[in-house]
Symmetry: C2
């Protein structure tokens, strides 16, 4: 077993993704004078992608949801559909990975396999798929369902869905298209394979009508932290996004999912754990603290309570603001997210008002306020203590919050030998150090 | 009624779209020495888009199908998924429209509304949706259906699907996002509308999680030529693509769909009829004829018979090659397409071999072989005789087949006053002369 324990000194580079929410990850970020005007704005998206690529980040990551309301966080009310947005960015970037979220509950395997294979071709091998099961009840109403399916059903469907997608990605072997002008041989039919999948949730014949893409399979990403989510991640994912507010919790999660991966017979080093982190950066600690206070001062309390209610899956707007969070009925939303916030409130003895302000600031993710050196210290500590293989960066506002990280923290990480000084390759797999999966039919040929 | 009759002299400009099939529309096109190597190749796509934009064409059009086999026409075996491909091209073009095909039978209205709204934002208002109902039985097998739904059911579903999508596109009124940094007002909830659609095929609550896009509604395109297809086109479409091999047939179709549009209370001038045309261009007629013969000589007869069998919905590979097409059982494919080819065989007294070579060359579309002047003459004749409001160009190979048209035929059409000398605007609607539809809620407010 290659799983390492925290007593072995850690070498290697950490991974850095950029989680894009165009109005900023902090709910008050867009109100800063220096924040760009958000909205469905490709020019801003291109600017963000260029800064991220200048910083040699591994990937851009687009979250998603399949419903909205005016009471959402500004970044989440409306937004680009992730696959179309990242396809546009594929045309104006060269090295950075492009990870889009797509649902296994409200999508279907044939279209999903196609969309990601197409993005992988468009980007020359930089696509990743963040597999989600869409826990929101309001999403169900946009797809003709009165009630959302239960978590276990969603994950059972997700597992089969992912298997079908991977099967479709193997439809064509390398060399299936000789395209010989002289002989007129365009295709070699012996390298085309029909999947003929018939399972509990899906019957999909195949083959896929997209050629095998540069990465073979786009990189699989997963972010569910429930027991079912961890099992799917350990079985299928190559990158795990997660919300971990403290190092002890991060280490516990890291250890658990790596063990689960090894138990399933996979190499745990081929599963990269990347917690979210919101870096609030100043040239000095005081400057950073001042920025954080400005951001917190921009929070509208009713909106913060609405966001907290969404995260907890229960309306808490009627409870006393300056008392602790009362006992609540079981969540109607994501169980692991509600637990994270309830644990945080208990651990730090927060009032409802304080919890709402924290939830609105970073939705339970780790907030890191400090100078570039202090930020690098914490990232290094988490990396070396095996709480993280890298981080999913959540700048509080765009583009300035990202620029501060790229211009001030990245050089510090590079000085410490913790981050690359040039891209290793042109595909996301090459940059993450992940192999291209063998085509199952080529492998069977021997 | 504004519908014009052929006796009134016609003024105005004709519309030109580019139907992209990256291996060329002629089945032997890719084998020409000057043809680019096809495949999922963004660089070639960008080059094609730039030539089309240099030629001031109205739009790029991507067809689609949801299944494949090695016996398909080379352009159709594998290809980019249209929405991701056009999103990438949106980032590298400025004026040209981007029309993607998407199915109402194997998609759902919420995702479809989102994808096209997103493309419309990414392109600054250049998106169009070619609405198809996917007649292929092999597509059904990729989506868990043993039998494809019947044509009438598919079109009934399509009509409701389109209504839901249009409703979702009206979710947000103009001005819904003040994004006022000082007051903290990001959204104006009074300009957000919940669709709450509950119909026979779909229950979709809404609202859409994409802001209203630059064109309000992406341009609606339709290409079905069955009775149900014509009705859907007349009711909902703004552009009609169609295969019309001769002027009399084109005039009959044009007149029929314009009349149907007027009967439904719409202005028939707001419905643009654009037949496909494959221009085989030489500097002289002899040069063009020589190119055509070279292309026809590149056709592989078994593949041509497979393509013809697909178009007829019946395997004809076992029949005598040099006898007329025998009587066949009802098609298992698209009825109007099978009829078109049977009519062509009868009208021109073609043997099975000749029909297969014709079907493989342009799938029943009009093939036009000649010098630039001769090609312009025919396009002008069809336009002035109201057989067409414009054409969907199907170059036999890429990029050269398109370059010949842009460099030789476009200037000739411009000299005759039949084609623009600069783009009228930056949106597809502006260039096609189509209004932006009013938001239904804004209109109801008065």
């Amino acid at each position: 077993m290659t799983e390492a324990s925290p007593t072995v000194p850690r070498t290697g580079k950490l991974r850095l993704g950029l989680f894009i929410q165009i109005a900023g990850h902090h709910i008050g970020g867009w109100r800063l004078p220096e924040a760009a005007r958000p909205g469905e704005n490709l020019a801003l998206g291109r600017q963000i992608a260029q800064i991220a690529e200048r910083g040699l980040l591994d990937m851009l990551f687009l979250g998603d949801s399949l419903s909205t309301s005016a009471a959402s966080s500004p970044s989440l009310i409306t937004r680009f559909e992730p696959l179309t947005f990242l396809s546009a960015l594929a045309a104006t970037t060269r090295n950075i990975g492009l990870v889009a979220t797509a649902s296994t509950t409200y999508g279907d395997p044939f279209n999903t396999a196609r969309l990601f294979a197409s993005l992988d071709h468009l980007s020359g091998g930089r696509a990743g798929w963040n597999i989600v099961t869409s826990s929101s009840g309001s999403a169900a109403l946009n797809f003709g369902l009165v009630e959302r399916p239960g978590v276990h059903d969603r994950y059972e469907r997700a597992e089969e869905f992912v298997e079908v997608v991977k099967g479709l990605w193997d439809s064509w072997e390398e060399g299936a298209f000789p395209r010989d002008k002289t002989t007129g041989t365009y295709v070699d039919p012996s390298r085309l394979h029909v999947l003929d999948h018939a399972g509990k949730h899906f019957s999909v014949r195949g083959p896929l009508n997209v050629d095998r893409s540069p990465q073979g399979h786009p990189v699989l990403v997963q972010a569910g932290s429930s027991e079912d989510g961890i099992t799917l991640g350990a079985r299928a994912a190559e990158v795990i996004f997660t919300a971990q507010p403290t190092l002890p919790e991060a280490r516990e999660f890291y250890d658990k999912i790596k063990r689960r991966t090894a138990e399933l017979g996979r190499d745990p080093e081929r599963l990269l754990v990347m917690p979210g982190v919101m870096p609030i950066i100043g040239r000095t600690r005081e400057e950073a603290q001042e920025l954080f206070e400005k951001l917190q001062g921009n929070i509208d309390l009713p909106l913060a309570l609405a966001v907290l209610s969404g995260e907890l899956g229960h309306d808490v707007s009627g409870y006393p603001l300056d008392a602790p969070l009362p006992a609540l009925p079981p969540t109607t939303g994501t169980v692991s997210r509600a637990e994270l916030l309830r644990d945080m409130a208990e651990r730090e003895n927060l009032t409802l008002r304080q919890l709402a302000l924290r939830a609105a600031a970073a939705r339970g993710h780790h907030i890191l306020v400090g100078s570039p050196t202090e930020i690098a210290d914490v990232l290094q500590e988490w990396f070396e203590a095996r709480g993280a293989d890298g981080f999913n960066l959540m700048p509080p506002f765009f583009p300035g919050g990202l620029e501060l990280f790229v211009d001030l923290v990245i050089p510090e990480l590079q000085r410490r030998g913790l981050f690359r000084t040039a891209y290793e390759g042109t595909t996301l797999r090459a940059n993450l150090g992940l192999d291209v999966p063998a085509n199952r039919y080529t492998a069977a040929r021997g």
